[in-house]
């Protein structure tokens, strides 16, 4: 039942975009003008492509994020049952978080969290 409703919501989202675009295409005027095709930047014609190498700092954060996000997946099931696990749950997660904290501390020490 829930999965079916999930599909319903998903299709509703798709329909919203499709119907909106369809209506806009039907209702809106259209005219051709070479100026319309220019990128909206500084006014002068844009130079070169924007698909180029990008600052590495962003990727460092992405890699760090990956590490913590995978950890979050492990934490969610643990969080639901921690009441039943009792102290054993606390100790095991303490160890888990300790390793992660070490990872964060290492990245911090190495200057990965420094925006240069």
């Amino acid at each position: 039942m829930n999965s079916a409703l999930f599909l319903v919501v998903f299709v509703t989202g798709l329909l919203l975009v499709c119907a909106g675009l369809g209506m806009a295409i039907l209702l809106s005027p259209s005219s051709f003008n070479a100026q319309k095709g220019q990128a909206y930047e500084c006014g002068i014609p844009t130079k070169g492509t924007s698909w180029m190498q990008f600052r590495v700092g962003y990727y460092l954060y992405a890699i760090l994020y990956l590490m913590f996000d995978v950890e979050a997946i492990f934490l969610f099931p643990w969080a639901t049952v921690v009441r039943d696990l009792g102290m054993a749950g606390l100790y095991s997660i303490l160890f888990f978080l300790l390793i992660l904290g070490l990872g964060l501390a290492y990245a911090w020490r190495k200057g990965a969290l420094q925006w240069k």
Partner: protein
């Protein structure tokens, strides 16, 4: 009683008993109705939010805000929507067309999927997964793919920078939001929204877990702000430096979708905070005061929900017009060097509070018992 769940039950019995339709058709009609209801709620809520934001912003800045279209400008956002529908959809010569047109789909579908899992009132929840919190965290982060696609496909330097900033900001603050929610899952012991709300009948989670809950609540609000690219964290679309950030090249309704998704995301953050911390649609109830509870129950649950969520939306606007914009390094420092470590300790604190029985619901009866003895 004005509960909308009575209406849904009425429709169900009408289809099943009065008209005697078969199971398949009953489900089909109900699914279509759910879709239509969601669509309407989505659009209407966005329009109301846009109007409210513009009006309140006006008051914050000592001006009137929209006041020409309709009484007090109430139809302003409807007029804007009609206008945006009538605009031509264009794309720039050098864009990656497929990705350019795919981006709004990601934005809207991600926010719609999250929207469907929000409990608006008693029985007013489209999707009630038993892993609800996890589902919301997973699905809402799909939206960032739309932002990155939009920025990348536009072939515009401003869009590119905006998208990259937005990506870094979103994934960073996603962690804090997720951690704050995990903290609350520890407290309520379930990821299902209906169970979380039931468990807050007499004591909101915000008070139940006292110190740890309040810290988690503040962190969730901060990271929710940052995730929606608003308030002091709006550097992906900082108007003075990047024109409009990742949606610079979008026109007409294509831009409208980004706009819609942004406002809905603001509401969704407020709604999740309401559900997880402030008791969701549950009216204020006091243990042992049955008369009071009856009176409170007369106010429909969705009014409670929208009242609480509205307060949080107002708070977000307040923050937006109070604090200056952060720099990108300050922004990332705030997350990685402050919020994330605080969050990890907060999680442990919450586990200790729960395991030692220090939650308010446990504390109060034992204090009374102690005094009585």
């Amino acid at each position: 009683m004005l509960e909308l769940s009575r209406l849904t039950a009425l429709i169900d019995s009408l289809l099943r008993e009065t008209w005697g339709l078969s199971e398949f058709w009953v489900l089909f009609i109900e699914f279509v109705l759910v879709g239509v209801a969601l669509l309407t709620a989505y659009a209407v809520l966005a329009l109301i939010l846009i109007y409210v934001e513009r009006k309140i912003t006006g008051f914050f800045q000592c001006r009137l805000g929209p006041n020409r279209v309709g009484k007090y400008g109430v139809v302003q956002s409807v007029a804007d929507m009609v206008k945006i529908l009538l605009k031509e959809i264009i794309h720039v010569d050098n864009v990656d067309k497929f990705l350019f047109y795919a981006a709004p789909f990601f934005m809207i579908v991600a926010s719609m999927l999250t929207f469907g899992a929000i409990p608006f009132g008693r029985g007013l929840q489209a999707v009630d997964f038993n892993i609800g919190v996890f589902y919301i965290v997973a699905v809402s982060s799909l939206g960032i793919i739309g932002v990155l696609l939009a920025g990348w496909s536009s072939n515009n330097k401003y869009s590119m920078i905006g998208a990259m900033r937005s990506g870094a900001q979103f994934i960073s603050y996603e962690l804090s939001a997720g951690f704050a929610l995990i903290t609350m899952v520890v407290l309520s012991g379930s990821m299902q929204f209906s169970t979380i709300i039931e468990s807050q009948t007499y004591c909101w989670n915000l008070f139940n877990g006292h110190i740890a809950s309040v810290i988690a609540f503040i962190i969730y609000l901060i990271s929710g702000h940052a995730e929606t690219n608003r308030g002091p964290f709006d550097l992906p679309e900082a108007e003075s430096e990047l024109t409009a950030g990742y949606h610079t090249e979008y026109s007409g309704l294509q831009f409208g979708f980004f706009y819609l998704a942004e406002y809905l995301n603001m509401f969704i953050i407020a709604a999740i905070a309401t559900t997880v911390f402030l008791g969701g649609w549950m009216p204020i109830q006091l243990k042992g005061f049955d008369g009071f509870n009856e009176v409170m129950n007369y106010i429909p649950s969705y009014i409670w929900f929208f009242g609480k969520a509205g307060c949080l939306v107002f708070l977000s606007l307040w923050v937006r017009w109070t604090f200056p914009r952060l720099r990108i390094d300050q922004l990332l420092n705030l997350e990685w060097k402050y919020l994330l470590p605080i969050n990890m300790f907060n999680l442990l604190l919450m586990v200790i509070i729960v395991l030692a029985g220090l939650t308010l619901e446990d504390i109060f009866p034992s204090i009374f018992k102690f005094i009585a003895e």
